[in-house]
């Protein structure tokens, strides 16, 4: 579904990614792990074209998307839940959902705000509140809802549960599991290994802009040295 090959990305003259290879198949949930500042967000930005890689190839559903503008890439079916959530503060909860929603006629059944409220009932009570007034957990739910409203085939979550209370975290993991079993492909970045090894199929570990380890959950659980070396746990 998504394939990154040999991606090199820079911020100005500083190189942040040194030849990243990542592959996500349809229906898979994959995690991208790594300590702070290793290049996870940069990888996400490179996929969406927010930071344009200098070198490499990116294909999504067999189509070359390298160098395409972010809105085109998003329209092809990549939904982003960004680091820091980036909720539109001056828009209400409902407006956050509908402003950038997908508006196709036939084919895929569009997500509606009602579906999102069913997924996250707390949002249903706050539809008219501005985004700036939500708690962190609510903002994250709204960010997920907003991304789903664009009808993605691949959902990317950067820091899926950062700073959230355990109960909200559990709710997000449940939601991701349900979305996966409904057929959505997911790339998730987070620090909670236990949850990730439980719900993800495969994992990549990034270290200083390079993929240094890849494998399935079984292999990751069985390899304490890797966790020690690259994740510091």
């Amino acid at each position: 579904m998504l394939e990154l090959k040999n991606i090199h990305s820079y911020y100005g003259t500083t190189q942040a990614l040194f030849g990243i290879d990542i592959e996500i198949h349809a229906g898979e949930m994959v995690s991208l792990l790594g300590r702070n500042g290793m290049g996870k967000t940069t990888t996400v930005r490179s996929i969406l074209g927010l930071t344009r890689p200098r070198q490499g190839t990116v294909t999504f559903q067999g189509r070359d998307i390298f160098g395409a503008p972010p809105y085109r890439i998003a329209q092809m079916g990549i939904g982003l839940v960004p680091e820091g959530r980036q909720i539109f503060p001056t828009l209400t909860v409902r407006e956050n959902l509908v402003a950038t929603a997908y508006r196709g006629k036939n084919g895929r059944r569009p997500w509606t705000p009602a579906d999102i409220y069913e997924l996250f009932p707390v949002l249903a009570q706050r539809t008219r509140q501005p985004g700036s007034r939500l708690s962190g957990g609510e903002q994250q739910m709204l960010a997920i809802g907003r991304a789903l409203m664009t009808h993605p085939k691949l959902l990317i979550l950067d820091e899926a549960t950062e700073g959230l209370a355990p109960r909200v975290r559990a709710q997000i993991w449940d939601c991701l599991e349900n979305l996966k079993s409904a057929g959505l492909s997911i790339l998730v970045i987070d620090k909670h290994l236990d949850a990730l090894t439980r719900i993800c199929d495969r994992h990549y570990i990034i270290e200083k802009g390079r993929i240094v380890w890849r494998g399935d959950s079984f292999k990751l659980k069985a390899d304490p040295a890797v966790r020690q070396d690259y994740l510091g746990v």
């Binding site: 972010p70 809105y71 329209q75 539109f88 001056t90 407006e95």
Partner: protein
């Protein structure tokens, strides 16, 4: 002061206010969303007046002239955005001021070459040339009243558009999180061109409405631009609501300043108003982003 004078001057103040609003709405959106200072906004006002006057002379109808001139100015504005202004968004304000000042010179010269150096005549449409008795014994020119009503209509329309429609939501979202709006599938460049076109259409409309009561001449956009900048600063940059409140405030203050204050003070009235507002609300009356 007599009752009649009060009513008439209040209406005059409102009329200047809606004109200022039509000018400053586009300016504040463009400044607030694209972070662009566009001095050449007044040129669109001037073009609106010249084009409408020309179409009026050709067709004999003010209303057909309006229907032709406003979309045309919108188109010119969009072309201007795509060819020149788009390159200035990421530059600093000094570059923007220089480049758009050059555009003023360009448009003034273009107008002089096309229409000649003399002021161009534009007639008040026949059907609006009379007066309306707004209160018993107080007549007011119908055309000026039309300006107040049409301008208010545009203000309400714009308010509903920004507040209620999906495109309006995207415009508001883009004002705070431009990159994110793009990452969710919206073509920001196109959005900006459209927003700019909307502002241009309103400026063109204002110029057209002003045509019959002021003189249609090169450089006619500059004085109103200065007032429009005062308006967007008082209103809060980026806020359409603020622009409306401030435009009415400035329009009324300027009009009454002229009749109530000695001449030396009256020309300063709106700047004193601006200083006063900024003293208490440095972000303007309605700060756009929290």
């Amino acid at each position: 002061m007599s009752m009649q004078l009060w009513v008439v001057q209040t209406l005059n103040g409102l009329q200047l206010g809606v004109m200022l609003f039509l000018m400053s709405a586009g300016l504040t959106l463009v400044f607030g969303i694209m972070n662009l200072i566009n001095l050449a906004h007044g040129s669109l006002y001037m073009l609106g007046a010249y084009l409408a006057a020309t179409f009026q002379a050709l067709t004999g109808s003010f209303f057909i002239a309006c229907l032709l001139a406003v979309p045309l100015v919108m188109g010119i504005g969009m072309l201007m955005e795509m060819s020149i202004l788009r390159r200035l968004y990421d530059r600093d304000h000094l570059d923007q001021v220089l480049a758009t000042f050059a555009l003023i010179l360009f448009f003034n010269e273009l107008v002089r070459m096309t229409w000649g150096p003399q002021a161009y005549f534009m007639a008040i449409p026949e059907s609006l040339s009379g007066t309306v008795e707004i209160l018993p014994g107080i007549p007011y020119p119908a055309y000026r009243l039309t300006i107040v009503l049409a301008g208010s209509g545009v203000a309400v329309g714009l308010y509903l558009f920004i507040g209620r429609t999906r495109l309006g939501m995207i415009i508001r979202a883009g004002a705070t999180h431009r990159e994110m709006v793009g990452a969710l599938g919206v073509n920001i460049k196109l959005l900006y061109t459209f927003v700019f076109g909307m502002g241009a259409a309103m400026a063109g409309f204002a110029g057209m409405m002003a045509g019959p009561i002021l003189s249609v001449e090169t450089g006619m956009g500059e004085p109103i631009m200065i007032l429009a900048f005062v308006v967007i600063v008082i209103g809060g940059i980026g806020s359409v609501r603020g622009a409306f409140a401030a435009a009415v405030l400035v329009g009324v203050a300027d009009t009454f300043g002229r009749i109530l204050l000695p001449p030396a003070l009256s020309s300063m009235a709106i700047y004193i108003l601006m200083a006063g507002v900024l003293c208490f609300r440095p972000q303007g009356l309605f700060p756009a982003h929290g």
